[in-house]
Symmetry: C2
Subunit: 258 residues, 2 copies
């Protein structure tokens, strides 16, 4: 069976897209097949995997019924990684979903055929920085959530918002199987006390839920998107690439493919 | 007259809140009076100015008509700075505004009394990382927009999205006076080529619109929010505080108080 994982956090700029793109790359290196779904109208996961935004190629026409999901899935330059790309029209998804009955089931409804076909080992959803309906409907469609978090104060303040949203969707029956797969600390800068303090605080609150692997701040990670490549392929021996490979191994151990 | 400025960018984590909080602080040091409006349900500007989130204290009850805006304005610990705070209920604003007629005029409608009373020299709106209705309705209520931008690739990719949204609101008559006040480059890391490349590229595209002042990446800036203080007060002689003071001087020159 396919594992459907949302990478989410309503706080902006905490490494969601970077994690989706590099986790997909590192999993594909191990021979696993991944479908990335770009749920952000900014379409950063789309360009981070080497594709241009194209009008009409996003989940939006699937949500309105204008297109079939099978026609929207695109290959990427990377073996084992396919994508449902994004473009600006997706910003209209919030209003579109709100119009439909039972809006929390909308994303699950359009993806069901893909998710149950068993073609992919993993589906990774790159969520926008939001608490809106597209985000909650996507969480309702997922098996689990990886929360990425910068080692900074504002990011820590917002952590309980996303973790309680996950608990709510599980306990109110919308998605009874939804799990917090783990919390990934990113952009760790070893030279500052703040980063070490934040990691210590998050580990003391969330214990085992926090992944052992911590992603360091590494300039090669932020250079890679301008070449449309995950850092894992752009600079395979960089600290960033090694950290994301270590994360993919830990992720696959804790959330094994079906 | 009061100058109403939105600090906006749909890309997450690009220094919007940090700029609102520190611009407000540096302007208040010059004897000017500022009203900060926290339009993000994450309420980072609220905590960054030393206040706790409180249920019922946000623009949300004003939008639904349950409260009067004058009752929601709170003092902060800092002389010359008042705030319309935020809390999680504000996440419901999107749906609330969408229900009303002429939703682009809703934010202007509820703020009009405050904006025309002339009590404040500046109103600074901290926008959420979004392309939703609350964000566009806020832009429709502003005189000008400061766009903050990290010196990174994904942030550069999204710049044309916010600048064309501003142009659209001006040319389609929703807000004929709306100006791009300027683009502020933040989190500049002098040790990386990427940052210098991005600044060069943005200056060549947007020319004069880019502020001379560039805010460096400075750990004191990211430490300050955990003490509920702008860096301008937390560590007045830090590179971060000096950069934001220089920015406030440049901002006040280009966008003088009424
Ligand atoms: N470990 C890292 N080291 C250095 N730079 C990083 C790292 N992780 C991410 N970045 C950079 O930081 C910025 C923010 O990361 P990213 O865009 O992945 O976050 P996000 O959570 O997806 O943002 P948004 O909320 O806008 O979707 C990007 O420019 C990215 O290249
Ligand atoms: N110049 C800087 N140097 C170092 N850290 C910074 C700087 N500016 C902002 N930060 C830190 O980077 C993070 C992102 O900044 P901030 O929260 O202000 O961005 P934002 O655009 O408001 O994010 P969001 O999109 O979630 O609203 C914060 O943790 C902040 O403390
Ligand atoms: Mg992203
Ligand atoms: Mg913010």
């Amino acid at each position: 069976t396919t594992r459907v994982i949302a990478i989410a956090n309503q706080k902006g700029g905490v490494g969601k897209t970077t994690t989706v793109v590099n986790l997909a790359a590192a999993l594909s290196e191990k021979g696993l097949t991944v479908l990335v779904i770009d749920l952000d109208p900014q379409a950063n996961a789309t360009s981070g995997l080497g594709l241009q935004r194209q009008p009409g190629l996003s989940l939006y026409p699937v949500l309105t019924g204008a297109a079939d999901v099978a026609d929207i899935i695109q290959p990427t330059p990377y073996e084992g990684i396919n994508i449902i790309p994004s473009e600006l029209d997706l910003a209209g998804a919030e209003v579109e979903i709100a119009r439909q009955e039972n809006h929390l089931a909308v994303v699950r409804g359009v993806l069901d055929r893909v998710l149950t076909a068993g073609v992919f080992d993993y589906v990774l959803m790159d969520c926008p920085p939001s608490l809106g309906i597209l985000m909650t409907s996507s969480l309702a469609a997922a098996d689990g959530v990886v929360v990425t978090m910068q080692c900074e104060y504002y990011a820590m303040e917002g952590l309980s918002v996303i973790t309680s949203l996950i608990d709510q969707l599980r306990t109110n029956g919308v998605n009874p199987g939804l799990r917090l797969e783990g919390i990934l600390m990113t952009m760790f800068d070893g030279r500052t006390r703040l980063a070490a303090d934040v990691v210590g605080e998050v580990r003391s609150h969330f214990g085992e839920a926090v992944y052992e692997t911590v992603i360091p701040r590494n300039v090669r990670i932020s250079e890679a998107p301008s070449f449309g490549q995950p850092v894992v392929f752009y600079d395979p021996s960089s600290r960033g690439a090694e950290a994301y490979r270590a994360f993919a191994a830990e992720f696959a151990r804790r959330t094994p493919p079906g």
